[in-house]
Structures are given as structure tokens and as C-alpha cells.
């Protein structure tokens, strides 16, 4: 019998082992962190979607910057 760890690694196996309601609540926590960090609710452009219109204007945040920005970048 194949075990989830063999197939998808520990992190995914742990996620699979949560109950559906636990996963839902964990996802809510992630959302709260994302919003607390200033993340925007604007979805990423989905270029493969049939609904995607490359010429459509994209909304910009009121402060003119993206919700999260890089302040310092380490070198490779």
C-alpha cells in the first residue's frame, strides 16, 4: 500500500491528513496573514482562461504600489 509520504513528501502528506474543515480553517489563517501584510484581493491575470482579455485595463491599488514589494534582494 503506497503511503502519501512516499509519493508527495511530508508537507503534502500532512495537508492530506487534515480533515476538510481543518484545511478550510488553515486556509482562512493564511488569508488573514495575507491581508494583514497588505495583499490585494485583485486576482492574478489568468492568461490561459478563455475570459482573459489582454487589452482590458487592470485595476491599480489606491496607493499606486503593489501590495507587497521587495525592499532588499539578496544576490545569487
Amino acid at each position: 500500500m503506497i503511503q502519501p509520504e512516499e509519493l508527495v513528501g511530508d508537507e503534502w502528506a500532512e495537508w492530506y491528513r487534515l480533515t476538510p474543515v481543518q484545511r478550510w480553517l488553515e486556509s482562512e489563517k493564511l488569508w488573514q496573514t495575507y491581508l494583514a501584510l497588505g495583499g490585494s484581493l485583485d486576482p492574478e491575470p489568468d492568461t490561459q482562461s478563455p475570459f482573459f482579455d489582454a487589452r482590458a485595463p487592470r485595476p491599480r491599488p489606491a496607493h499606486g504600489r503593489s501590495g507587497v514589494r521587495i525592499l532588499r534582494r539578496g544576490r545569487v
Partner: protein, 234 residues
């Protein structure tokens, strides 16, 4: 029916829009309009919010302006390719109660998997995760419907071979519907992987064909002048 349903069933998607499958009848659309008004949701792009577009398989897109959901995208659909009509989806739905007592109705897992069989790259790893999670959550005596679901929907070669070799009789009966099960029964993982990719490519091509006329209709709505001029030139 989108990202949050995927999270519930075991995949992980950080989706920032909220997708709803709805019944496009007059009474329900009136309720929907009221809910959208509460969210101060405005239609964006095309098509307009009219039942005929929903019934033809288009999605209607909204952006919320309510401070509690500022800029959140809401997408509404009523008909999806390869997915049963709404009344059947509703009969099979999963209902979830949140800690605050709010109830959410989600597409059943098999219906969500069907809805995810699109032309987009990101949907295919999602299907794989959804079915894997369901498989690993099984108890020691799975129901016949579960075994059939795994045999028809698993996209992980090793797991598919495991199920096909454990339930060979059922797998043989389903070969006519999903020929790649033959490789699962014999345990030929290399062939199974190739066949799974071919199956995915075929379904993605079917989705593209399905959307072609709808996409052309969207383009006409987006750029009416361009199409008027083209018509005159012809």
C-alpha cells in the same frame, strides 16, 4: 466551486476570486442581484449580467466595492463543459458549516473534478491533488462508487496502478470508458504516464473547441467596432 472548494477537498489553491455555480432562473437571479448589490459588486469586462449569457455557458465577472471585500472578484457561472445541469449538482452538493454558523454549499468532489478539466495548465495538478487526497483518506473498505471514481479520475500512475491491481474486475469493466486502465492492470507505469498525458491533452483540446465560439462571441462584445469594420470589408 473554485479555490476554496479545492482547499476543502485536499488540494491547495490561493485563489483570490470567488467562483459560484448558480441556478439561472428568474427568482434566483433576483436573489443574486440583491446579494451583489449588498457587496456593491459591479460587472467588469464582458459579457453583461443577463441570463442568456449564463445559459449559453459564459461566466459573468464582478468586482466588489464594499470595504469588507474591496476589489474582490466574483465570477458566476451556470453551465460548465462536461458538468451536469445545476439541479443535479445541487442534489450532490457538500454543505459545510463554518464556526460562526455560516453554511457554504460546495460542488461535490466528482463534479469539481469535472469542472476542472479545462485548457488551463494550473487545473491539472489540482485534479491530481484532489483525487490523491480523496484516495489517501479512504477507509479500509471503500465503497464501489469510490473505487469507480478513483479508477476513472486518478492521474497519479502509481496510485492508479495500485487501485487497478487491487480491484482488477472493476478496472476491466471500465477499460472501455478509460482505455489507459489496461496499463494500470498490467502495472506498466511508463505507458500509463504517457497515456495520462495523452488523455489530458485530448481533454484540453476539447475544452478549447468548446470555448472557441464562446470566445469569439466575447471578442465581438469586447471590440464591436473592429467586428463591424471587418463585416463591412467583407
Amino acid at each position: 466551486m473554485g479555490g476554496q472548494a479545492c482547499v476543502f477537498y485536499g488540494a491547495a489553491e490561493f485563489s483570490r476570486d470567488t467562483d459560484f455555480a448558480i441556478l439561472a432562473d428568474a427568482a434566483n437571479l433576483a436573489r443574486l442581484r440583491k446579494a451583489l448589490a449588498d457587496l456593491r459588486a459591479e460587472t467588469i469586462a464582458v459579457p453583461p449580467f443577463e441570463p442568456e449569457y449564463l445559459r449559453r455557458g459564459h461566466a459573468i465577472h464582478f468586482r466588489c466595492q464594499h470595504p469588507a471585500a474591496l476589489r474582490m472578484r466574483v465570477d458566476i457561472m451556470s453551465k460548465m463543459r462536461g458538468v451536469d445541469p445545476f439541479f443535479k449538482l445541487w442534489q450532490r452538493r457538500t454543505t459545510l458549516e463554518l464556526p460562526d454558523g455560516t453554511k457554504c454549499d460546495l460542488l461535490s468532489l466528482p463534479d469539481l473534478v469535472q469542472a476542472k478539466k479545462t485548457q488551463r495548465d494550473k487545473d491539472w495538478p489540482m485534479i491530481r491533488r484532489l483525487v490523491e487526497a480523496n484516495y489517501f483518506s479512504k477507509n479500509s473498505r471503500p465503497r464501489a462508487a469510490q473505487i469507480k471514481f478513483w479508477l476513472m479520475e486518478l492521474r497519479t500512475p502509481r496510485l492508479l496502478a495500485e487501485v487497478a491491481q487491487t480491484h482488477t474486475g472493476v478496472a476491466r469493466r471500465l477499460v472501455a470508458q478509460r482505455p489507459l486502465l489496461e496499463h494500470g492492470i498490467t502495472g506498466n507505469l511508463a505507458r500509463l504516464e504517457i497515456a495520462l498525458t495523452a488523455e489530458e491533452n485530448k481533454l484540453r483540446a476539447q475544452d478549447k473547441s468548446y470555448w472557441k465560439p464562446l470566445f469569439e462571441e466575447l471578442e465581438r462584445l469586447r471590440h464591436p467596432r473592429k467586428f463591424d469594420e471587418k463585416g463591412k470589408a467583407e
